[in-house]
């Protein structure tokens, strides 16, 4: 955002903050350990502002809770900016020194009064004012968000809105502040860092940058394409058309991508599919070849967490049967198609190659990680560098950071009389994503054995639905069966479902429309209807 896509600050800094603005993150369930740090900050006297359509657990201990309508974040954030600039609460010095485009931004939010936003978000105008004032006037104030911000058709605008708040209040480059996306998976950050991206090589070097291209061509001893590739959401849409073969490592795309029916049709249109995984899953149903892989406990390597911390993964047990570590399989497959991939003896050699090609982490090596028990945080440009705890401490890395004007537009698919409820999706504490691992954990199974749909008492009563009753949930794209969970957390007109159950795959419902910039799909908003499977015995 300001020159790097990662948490600007570090997880251990949370405990020293004075204000936390948590939006679009059910932190206690998705990131329990970060939530513990937030609770610790709260115990030390920090204020907590929570914005979420679902009355999540953090809302119970929050000083201010804003229950906004799903998909209206831009309106909320615009109104907060409006309050800050009209009340003169912005950090003039920081704005002058480190940003561009402030005048345009001020103009763009001039109409975005809290009263206007109340009409859209259903959050009382006075609460929006309070939130804006608290955030702007607290020196150590951090923003924490996750997929509740990004998984929208306007996800980029949501992120811009948050970035604008950070910039106008100067909450950047200082301890206990910043803009902090909490990464959903163990190595999202590391996968991006390593170049699992259609536009970047490892270390965020663009494939269409001739200098980078030349560097990687020299290192890898082959010609490389300067044309950016397709991202995942685009690939999914072109399966059977432009895309005819897939190699899939460690991901159950049939379960995890939105609009399952369309994904399945696409998979059927492929000529050849290779899957590399630790279990059979929904995607292996379409595979021509399946490679058995080692899991994290059976191999060496590194994961990079949300706060850019590179940490070691170490082999503890042997992989079962003939299963092999993914890195070995990849080398062997490359060699099988005739590319002379080196015979790496250990992942440390792979890391060394990557680090040498990537200035952001060229100071990091497996060897150094042995001595740094808390890992190393990039940027870490040389072997003497201690790593970077707080980014942008000398001003934004990109120089002057631009404000981005944003304008509220409704989500792509809104409720109507056929599909009257607004569905959001997410993760629970006990399960993890496609459930491959946690559906095999006894505690998770005992606590949450089957898919469920959270619904407000009023909406349930209106439909004559009882707690625990099985219902048919349908969207324009598909239908799944789930158990009713009447929940005081839910706002009227809204429902919520988890994503962990292959036999009742919530993504049969979700919308694959993407954000125009990132193509990230709108998992968080689609329209559904809920009907009793069998009439409740009365």
């Amino acid at each position: 955002m300001f020159g790097a896509g990662a948490m600007t600050n570090s997880i251990p800094e949370i405990r020293g903050t004075d204000l936390m603005f948590v939006i679009g993150s059910n932190t206690t369930e998705a990131h329990p350990i970060i939530a513990m740090e937030m609770k610790r900050a709260k115990k030390n006297g920090a204020k907590l502002i929570v914005a979420d359509p679902r009355r999540i657990w953090l809302a119970d201990i929050a000083d201010l809770y804003m229950q906004l309508k799903p998909g209206t974040d831009v309106a909320l954030l615009s109104a907060m900016m409006h309050v800050i600039v009209t009340e003169g609460l912005h950090d003039r010095e920081f704005v002058d020194k480190h940003t561009t485009g402030f005048e345009d931004l001020v103009a763009s939010v001039s109409e975005a009064t809290p009263e206007w936003a109340e009409g859209i978000t259903e959050v009382p105008a006075e609460d929006i004012r309070t939130a804006a004032r608290l955030y702007a006037t607290t020196e150590k104030a951090g923003i924490y968000y996750t997929l509740g911000i990004t998984e929208h058709s306007h996800g980029t605008d949501n992120v811009y809105g948050l970035a604008n708040l950070v910039l106008m209040t100067g909450h950047l480059g200082k301890e206990n502040c910043g803009m902090n996306p909490l990464r959903g998976q163990n190595n999202v950050q590391g996968a991006n860092d390593a170049g699992a991206s259609p536009i970047y090589y490892a270390g965020y070097q663009r494939v269409d940058d001739p200098v980078a291209q030349a560097k990687f061509e020299a290192a890898w001893g082959t010609e490389l394409s300067p044309t950016p590739g397709m991202n995942l959401n685009v690939m999914m849409k072109h399966m059977g058309g432009l895309i005819r073969g897939l190699f899939i490592m460690g991901e159950d795309i049939v379960l995890s991508e939105p609009n399952t029916e369309r994904v399945e049709a696409g998979m059927n249109g492929l000529d050849f599919v290779v899957v590399q995984d630790i279990f059979l899953n929904e995607t292996t149903r379409f595979a021509d070849v399946v490679f058995p892989a080692a899991c994290f406990a059976e191999k060496d390597g590194v994961f990079t967490n949300s706060d850019r911390r590179v940490q070691r993964v170490r082999k503890a047990v042997d992989a079962p049967g003939q299963a092999r570590p993914d890195w070995q399989i990849l080398v062997q497959l490359a060699q099988a198609v005739g590319y002379p991939m080196p015979d790496y003896q250990h992942p440390s050699e792979v890391y060394a190659e990557m680090a040498q090609l990537s200035p952001k982490f060229s100071g990091i090596s497996h060897e150094r990680l042995e001595d740094n028990v808390s890992g190393l945080q990039w940027p870490c440009p040389d072997p003497e560098h201690p790593g970077t705890v707080t980014m942008h401490s000398d001003g934004p890395i990109i120089g002057k950071a631009p404000f981005q004007t944003i304008a509220y537009r409704p989500s792509e698919e809104l409720p109507n009389s056929d599909f009257p409820l607004l569905l959001s999706t997410g993760r629970t504490l006990y399960h993890y994503n496609s459930g491959t691992q946690t559906r095999r954990a006894s505690g998770a199974v005992a606590k949450q054995p089957e898919n469920f749909i959270e619904i407000s008492r009023r909406d349930a009563r209106k439909r004559g639905l009882d707690d625990g009753q099985l219902v048919r949930v349908s969207s324009r794209r598909g239908t799944v069966i789930a158990a009713i969970n009447i929940s005081p957390r839910m706002k009227r007109g809204c429902v919520w479902m988890p994503l962990h159950f292959p036999e009742a795959n919530t993504n049969r419902l979700t919308n694959d429309v993407g954000d125009p910039v990132t193509q990230t799909a709108e998992f968080k908003v689609c329209a559904v209807r809920v009907q009793a499977l069998v009439q409740a015995a009365k």
Binding site: I33, N186, L224, M235, F279, V289, R309, Y351, A441
Partner: protein
């Protein structure tokens, strides 16, 4: 059972006398902080860096000049000019008598020592290090417990010293407050509301109660049969969400038998884990794991094959698509679940071996 960290001096200091020697301390520190820095063996049961001091176990009492009675070093604040003794006759007598009393209220093994459980019993260590006073008859205090309805957490009141760390951790750190001290006097115990099973409470099964328990009264149910002294420990990074918690994988006979956190203070998780990190590793040894390469047969089913053949079929299949539909008809989907090195190799495979930038992974948070 977690260790206490040694605090580091960062600001201006004051001076006090500890066991006859001049030592430095910082305003606001406790006597225990000073003792730990000076390497004094002051035993504790109820002290933990992540929760407020309670001073209830009374193990850490020291003699402070001018104070009529022994004082809990975990809570007693330093003052310039204090004269403190950690090993006087009085302190020793107290420690040994108190340990005798604890023994009378604790389940013992065949050597009349506190039984080893979980990852060790701190009370046993204190008894071995400091000795005991007279042999006291067991007190047979009846303590109820009925929180068993859950797959992960076992509580044995016979090994509980009522340090209240589990309750304080559950409230102050994890903030779910699923358990409490209940009852009064010698019958005091750890309980849930209405003595319900943990599954029916707010418990999130993070297992922090196990991690902070000094005596192993709280243990991992799945690890009850495992002897921690025979376990091999490998430090790694949790494979679930993006926090990057450090885990110690305890293994025995090529199986993960227990997961613990490294001690608080040095890692991003500060000694904490969640239900997934601590307990959801059953998948690693699960019978459904893929153990051999598979290829799709003419019958439409997947059939085992050799690695050599699987690699050959995969290579030929992908190259055939490339030849027929062009380089960019192939897509490579990587995984945020795999290591950095593997993601690097996958994009290298995509770009260098197959010539396409159609390479991505699922999560673009």
């Amino acid at each position: 059972m977690s260790d206490l960290t040694v605090p580091i001096l960062t600001g201006p200091t004051l001076t006090l006398t500890l066991d006859g020697e001049q030592v430095h301390a910082q305003d606001g520190e406790t006597l225990l902080d000073v003792c730990r820095r000076a390497g004094k063996d002051v035993p504790t049961l109820c002290a933990e860096d992540r929760v407020d001091p309670m001073g209830s176990c009374r193990m850490c009492l020291v003699e402070v000049e001018g104070q009529r009675r022994l004082q809990p070093s975990c809570a007693f604040k330093v003052q310039a000019g204090q004269v403190v003794q950690t090993d006087s006759d009085k302190v020793q007598r107290h420690r040994q008598l108190l340990l005798s009393m604890y023994l009378a209220d604790h389940e013992l093994d065949e050597d009349d020592l506190p039984r080893e459980r979980g990852t060790g019993n701190l009370l046993r260590q204190h008894v071995l290090n400091h000795g005991t006073g007279p042999d006291l008859p067991p007190i047979n205090a009846p303590r109820e417990y009925r929180m068993e309805n859950n797959p992960y957490i076992h509580f044995d009141p016979g090994a509980c010293v009522l340090c209240n760390l589990c309750v304080r951790y559950c409230d102050e750190v994890e903030a779910v407050s699923a358990i409490t001290l209940a009852g009064r006097g010698a019958k005091t115990t750890i309980a849930t509301a209405d003595q319900k099973g943990l599954l029916d409470t707010t418990c999130e099964m993070c297992g922090g109660c196990i991690a902070v328990c000094p005596t192993g009264a709280m243990t991992e149910k799945p690890s009850l049969a495992s002897n921690f002294q025979e376990e091999k420990v490998v430090r790694s990074t949790c494979n679930f969400c993006g926090v990057g918690c450090q885990v110690n994988l305890h293994t025995q006979d090529n199986k993960i038998v227990r997961v613990t956190s490294p001690p608080p203070g040095e890692t991003v998780n500060d000694g904490n884990l969640c239900v997934k990190g601590r307990f959801s590793m059953e998948f690693v040894q699960h019978q459904d794991r893929l153990t051999e390469p598979l290829i799709r047969g003419k019958d439409g089913g997947l059939h085992p094959t050799s690695w050599e053949n699987a690699l050959k079929v995969a290579a030929e299949g992908l190259m055939a698509v490339r030849q027929k539909h062009g380089t960019d008809s192939l897509g490579f989907i990587s995984s945020s679940r795999c290591t950095g090195e593997e993601n690097y190799l996958l994009q290298k495979l995509s770009r260098a071996a197959f010539g396409t930038n159609n390479c991505h992974q699922c999560a673009a948070t």
